[in-house]
């Protein structure tokens, strides 16, 4: 079932950035080291990590839906915790996303002060991201999940904007509180499993077979989801995110929205659905409703923003709502769309935050009212922004469309009315993004804006990979879908088997309207 490799790819993938972080901290503290050295060291380490992630993707088998590249080592065996790593079609592209974004952040969103600490924290954050996506031991997953808080906290509070201290504390306490429920949930689940089998383990593949009473099932689902919903963030646990995204430095915002937010939805997919399939199905209407509220709320609030960064922050809340919508639709299409949307949203949001950060560098403001007619002095910036914005709206031919379409059509066949309402979010997204674009780039340029510098060659090189990926995934998403589909299919099969729902091939006569309460699942 699972391919094994002699070389421990995943362990190295996780430890390489951590080692790089330590190296940067040590090298950077030596006297006479210039900041460029530290920055290049960081970029090299993150590029090496990306190379490793690409190698994993190249060796990834498309014929199996299970975990590949598994690593299993005794770590703290006497309490049942193992260094157990594995990667499947769901986590593969999140690993790649993180691998792509970190070099871009380190190269494109540099800081003015204390490069050493910034780069070191960034690399530690990369370690946490990689670890979170490849851990299949629940405690190990929790460790990396929590570890991500520390570097992101220090990045926000150290290099953020005016209200950074408030935003950082709010971010930390919110997510830490959510994690408290997650930890207790994990321990209770392991305890129940130990009670049934006599083995104390936190391994995901083993814990899947735990028999849960319906009360325990629902309770544990809620405990796990509390942490994931805060992290994602899903409505109504999102209130920390506009502050954190808004006050963080550009690189911090990019990673928070593009990668760290995915921890939440990834957790729901990989852990909630596998461990508590019955509760996931039972509570799907609740989660779908929250997702739809999040989509509409995020979009409406984004419409009211006069600050570019907060606008993107709220649009991110809406997009994560789409991800949740696709997950709890329980159709293979919807789930595939969700996984793809996680990747696409990561690319698009990172590009948006990066561009907005560059605008801020030039104009020292995010206020839409103070920006005008940037198209004239900065045509390349405008062109790049156009592509990214259109991808975010979901224009066919760019990546956002593919995933949004899959999510909405996947939801429509199983939960029609939620899909119908959610579609309004797409319209609203077009409204606020086009409005912002129009205000910022069109119009008659005034004196203050006319001096705006266009993108430098270095900046063009940095943003180019994102633009290429946005276009490529919009035109030819097949390589990605090929790798996602087996895992999603096996996940859907697992949920079906556990919930004893007989699945008609929904996609075939989905348009006839399938009652959501009796038929759940997807096409094979």
């Amino acid at each position: 079932m699972t391919a094994t490799h002699a070389f421990p790819y995943l362990t190295v993938l996780v430890l390489l950035p951590a080692g790089g972080s330590a190296a940067v901290a040590i090298v950077g503290s030596m006297p006479g080291i210039r900041r460029a050295v530290v920055e290049w060291l960081g970029i090299c380490v993150s590029l090496a990590t990306l190379g490793l992630a690409i190698a994993v993707a190249a060796l990834f088998s498309t014929t199996t839906g299970g975990f590949q590249f598994e690593v299993f080592d005794n770590w703290a065996g006497s309490v049942g915790v193992h260094w157990q790593l594995g990667i499947d079609g769901i986590s593969l592209f999140l690993v790649l996303l993180a691998g792509v974004l970190f070099p871009i952040v380190l190269a494109g969103a540099r800081t003015r002060s204390d490069a050493r600490s910034y780069v070191a924290w960034m690399l530690l954050l990369e370690c946490a991201c990689m670890g979170t996506f490849v851990s299949i031991d629940l405690i190990l997953f929790f460790f990396f999940f929590e570890l991500s808080l520390i570097p992101s906290y220090f990045i926000i509070s150290g290099w953020g904007y005016a209200r950074r201290a408030y935003a950082a504390i709010k971010f930390f306490v919110y997510t830490f509180l959510g994690s408290a429920f997650l930890l207790v949930g994990i321990l209770v689940l392991a305890f129940i499993h130990e009670h049934q089998t006599g083995v104390l383990t936190f391994s995901l593949p083993a814990l899947v077979h735990t028999h849960l009473s319906s009360v325990a099932d629902i309770g544990l689902f809620l405990a796990f989801t509390a942490a994931f919903a805060v992290k994602a963030p899903l409505f109504p646990f999102h209130t920390w995110s506009p502050d954190a995204y808004g006050e963080a430095p550009t690189g911090g915002s990019m990673l928070l929205a593009a990668v760290l937010a995915k921890f939440g939805t990834y957790g729901i997919l990989q852990f909630d659905l596998r461990l508590f399939p019955q509760a996931s199905v039972d509570l799907a209407p609740l989660m779908l409703t929250l997702a739809v509220i999040g989509i509409l709320y995020g979009a409406v609030v984004a419409c009211a923003q006069r600050d570019l960064k907060r606008l993107v922050a709220y649009s991110s809340v809406a997009q994560m709502g789409f991800v949740a919508l696709g997950i709890f639709a329980f159709s293979a299409q919807g789930l595939t769309g969700s996984v793809l949307l996680m990747l696409n949203h990561g690319l698009i949001t990172a590009a948006l935050f990066l561009l907005i950060g560059w605008i801020y560098e030039r104009r020292q403001t995010w206020q839409v009212s103070e920006l005008r007619g940037l198209q004239a002095p900065a045509p390349v910036l405008a062109a790049v922004f156009t592509v990214v914005m259109l991808a975010s709206i979901g224009l066919p031919g760019l990546n956002g469309f593919v995933s949004e379409f899959l999510v909405l059509s996947g939801t429509f066949v199983t939960h029609r009315w939620w899909a119908v309402v959610a579609t309004a979010g797409v319209v609203l997204a077009a409204m606020y993004l086009l409005w912002a674009y129009q205000q910022v780039f069109h119009g008659k340029v005034d004196l203050a804006n006319s001096r705006t510098r266009d993108l430098s060659w270095a900046e063009r090189v940095v943003i180019a990979p994102l633009i290429i990926l946005i276009v490529f995934l919009g035109v030819y998403p097949k390589p990605v879908l090929d790798r996602i589909t087996p895992s999603v299919t096996s996940l859907v099969a697992q949920v079906d088997a556990a919930t004893h729902t007989h699945q008609p091939p929904v996609a075939l006569h989905g348009t006839k309207g399938v009652d959501a309460r009796t038929h759940r699942g997807g096409s094979r």
Binding site: F144, I150, V184
Partner: protein, 651 residues
């Protein structure tokens, strides 16, 4: 001699013969190897004391430190030897079943010896800085450590009480050790009064349990309870309750925690760290042993009490820590929160709970001693700069020290890849056994606790305020009180300065910045804006005549000197303390109109902010951080070590 004893001699001989015949007093066979760590520690302390009293002058600090380090290391060594003995030959009781040697007791011995070793490293720098010659500090600490070790290996309530008293009485003295600080004496008196009261309660508890079960031996109590069903168990219940009160006082569980913040704040900082680690370890060791092993069969009676204690301890400890401004008080409340976590392990009353609690104590010892080592260093000479403001901008001045403190604080908060999270994980795993709500409460309290650890952490990484971060940089027209006021205010204000200075037993003027000349102004504004800056570490300089003030929360605790050309208006409310990262510098031209407020220049002074970290203290901090992180990333050894911390008697 013969004359005086003569008439009684036959009688005495008859008595001895009678006693021997009847066998009423049988001295038990003492297996010295069973109590070798205690012997090493206590014997070493006595030898050091004798040596110190034989030399003419106070023993040099380096000698006392060296001897104490050697003794502690030897104690660690023999404890580890005991460990292999127990692993090889199994646990046993000795000295007429009054002492037990099992995995649990050995682990406590290792823990206490390690704590003693690290504390000695920290205390060395402290003693030099404060000019505390002699070996008394070390001797008392070793005696106290012996008490904790006795509590860990006692198998008899009376022996536990002996250990408790040996531990406590030495600690009372240690709390008062810095006799130049009034706070130290106050702390000691408070600790002594409340501590002796709790000891009395504890003894009464022993008496009642003895009355109920007919023995004070833990094994025999367990045996009695296993063979008898108590029809009326009021006596036992009362005795258990009093024992819980006595232990709860020592481990600082709410509502018996009242002494903790004051005593932790007042005691010399290295002693506080020692107290937090060793007293808690010893008391918890006995607490666990008595309740899990000896009263384990009646756990249904005491578990609800511990449950309640744990809930209030967790929540109040974390909640009250949030509002503290003094870092030592904050750590005191945080130690209360930690005690709540250890109570989770006790409340579970299982082998897993016991080993989890012991792991927690192990991890906590290094985190707390390390934290107080940093606090000791930051406290500067006089051990007074403990306001949270003293930590502002520490990362800029001393990045390694700040990083170490951040790691220790995050570990206490339960950050991943530190022993802190492994400890929390294990006690919570023990607690979910039958109480999921308690586990949830514990983790929520950890989230609250994370808030105040982070507050210190973020302050260390926040540079001192500069003009552009201060709201309202426009000079206000109607500044009511000028820092350097008009001539009409001059006299009164100065008088007040003097009065305040006189009421202080020991002026803290040596915390003044060592040099003030080469400085660059980093902030200029008026007094009102200075007040908006929040707590400033500052010295006031006027006409090159430096005056150091320490204002803590509005009261003056500093010395004033005669000023030329200006006066101080102390009601100005500018929080100033002596830790001295920033200098508040008046322009010195004197006068100034009361309405407008005198301009103030805040200057950063070169070396003023940095504190000296003695080498041994740095080693101690390094050991603590290293153990916390290395054993957090590579948790196997310590966890399996703690898993062998089994009690000899488990019902």
């Amino acid at each position: 001699m013969t004359g005086s004893l003569g008439p009684h001699l036959p009688g005495l001989l008859v008595l001895v013969a009678h006693v021997q015949r009847a066998g009423a007093i049988v001295t038990p066979h003492i297996r010295y190897l069973a109590i070798i760590p205690e012997i090493v520690m206590l014997g070493g302390a006595v030898l050091l004391l004798v040596a110190a009293s034989l030399v003419r002058r106070p023993l040099r600090i380096s000698v006392a430190t060296g001897a104490t380090l050697a003794i502690s290391a030897a104690s660690v060594g023999v404890s580890l030897w005991q460990w292999f003995d127990v692993m090889g030959h199994g646990p046993f009781t000795a000295v007429d079943h009054a002492v037990v040697v099992d995995g649990f007791s050995v682990l406590v011995n290792v823990l206490v010896s390690c704590a003693m070793f690290i504390t000695t490293l920290v205390a060395d720098g402290y003693a030099r800085r404060e000019g505390l010659d002699g070996a008394e500090l070390h001797v008392l600490a070793m005696v106290s450590a012996t008490g904790a070790m006795i509590m860990g290996s006692a198998n008899d309530l009376i022996v536990i009480f002996l250990g408790l008293e040996i531990l406590s009485i030495a600690l009372y003295v240690l709390a008062a050790f810095n006799h130049r600080r009034a706070a130290s004496g106050e702390a000691a008196l408070k600790y002594f009064l409340l501590g002796s009261f709790s000891s009395a309660v504890f003894v009464y508890g022993i008496a009642l349990v003895y009355g109920a079960t007919g023995s004070s031996n833990l094994g025999q109590i367990a045996e009695f309870l296993s063979k008898h069903v108590l029809v009326s168990n009021g006596l036992l219940l009362a005795g258990m309750t009093l024992l819980i009160v006595g232990f709860a006082f020592k481990v600082a569980a709410v509502p018996f925690h009242m002494w903790t913040p004051d005593v932790y704040q007042g005691s010399p900082s290295p002693v506080t760290g020692f107290m937090a680690a060793v007293a808690k370890a010893g008391a918890f060791a006995a607490f666990l042993r008595v309740f899990v092993s000896s009263l384990g069969l009646v756990r249904a009676d005491w578990q609800p009490i511990i449950y309640g204690l744990a809930v209030v301890t967790l929540l109040l400890g974390a909640g009250l820590a949030v509002v503290q401004r003094d870092v030592k008080r904050m750590l005191a409340y945080s130690s209360i929160n930690h005690a709540g976590f250890v109570l989770l392990g006790l409340q579970a009353a299982t082998a897993r709970g016991v080993s989890a609690a012991l792991y927690y104590l192990f991890a906590y010892t290094f985190m707390v001693i390390g934290s107080f080592a940093v606090v000791t260093v930051i406290g500067r000479k006089g051990d007074a700069a403990h306001d949270i403001a003293s930590y502002r901008g520490l990362a800029r001045r001393q990045p390694l020290l700040a990083l170490a403190f951040v790691v220790l604080l995050l570990a206490q908060a339960g950050a991943p890849f530190t022993t802190g999270l492994w400890a929390k994980l294990q006690v919570v795993l023990a607690a979910v056994d039958h109480s999921v709500p308690l586990a949830l409460i514990a983790m929520v309290s950890a989230a609250i606790a994370a808030f105040f650890y982070l507050r210190v952490a973020v302050l260390m990484y926040t540079p001192a305020p500069t003009a552009d971060t201060v709201p309202g940089s426009q000079p206000p027209a109607e500044s009511a009180v000028a820092l350097f006021g008009s001539s009409t205010r001059r006299g009164g204000a100065l008088d007040r300065t003097r009065t305040m200075a006189e009421t202080q037993p020991e002026p803290v003027d040596d915390v003044r910045a060592p040099q003030v000349a080469p400085s660059r102004p980093v902030w200029t504004g008026t007094q009102r804006q200075a007040a908006a800056l929040g707590p400033l570490n500052a010295s006031l300089l006027l006409d090159d005549d430096p005056v150091t003030l320490a204002l803590f929360g509005g009261t003056v605790a500093g010395a004033g000197r005669t000023l030329e050309g200006g006066a101080l208006a102390l009601e100005s409310g500018v929080p100033v303390d002596g830790a001295g990262e920033r200098m508040l510098v008046g322009d010195g031209t004197g006068g100034g109109d009361a309405a407008g407020g005198m301009p103030i220049v805040v200057r950063a002074v070169g070396a003023a902010g940095t504190v000296r970290v003695p080498v041994l203290t740095a080693v101690a901090i390094g050991i603590c951080v290293g153990i916390t992180v290395v054993l957090g990333c590579w948790p196997g050894p310590l966890i399996s070590f703690a898993h062998h911390a089994t009690l000899l008697f488990v019902p």
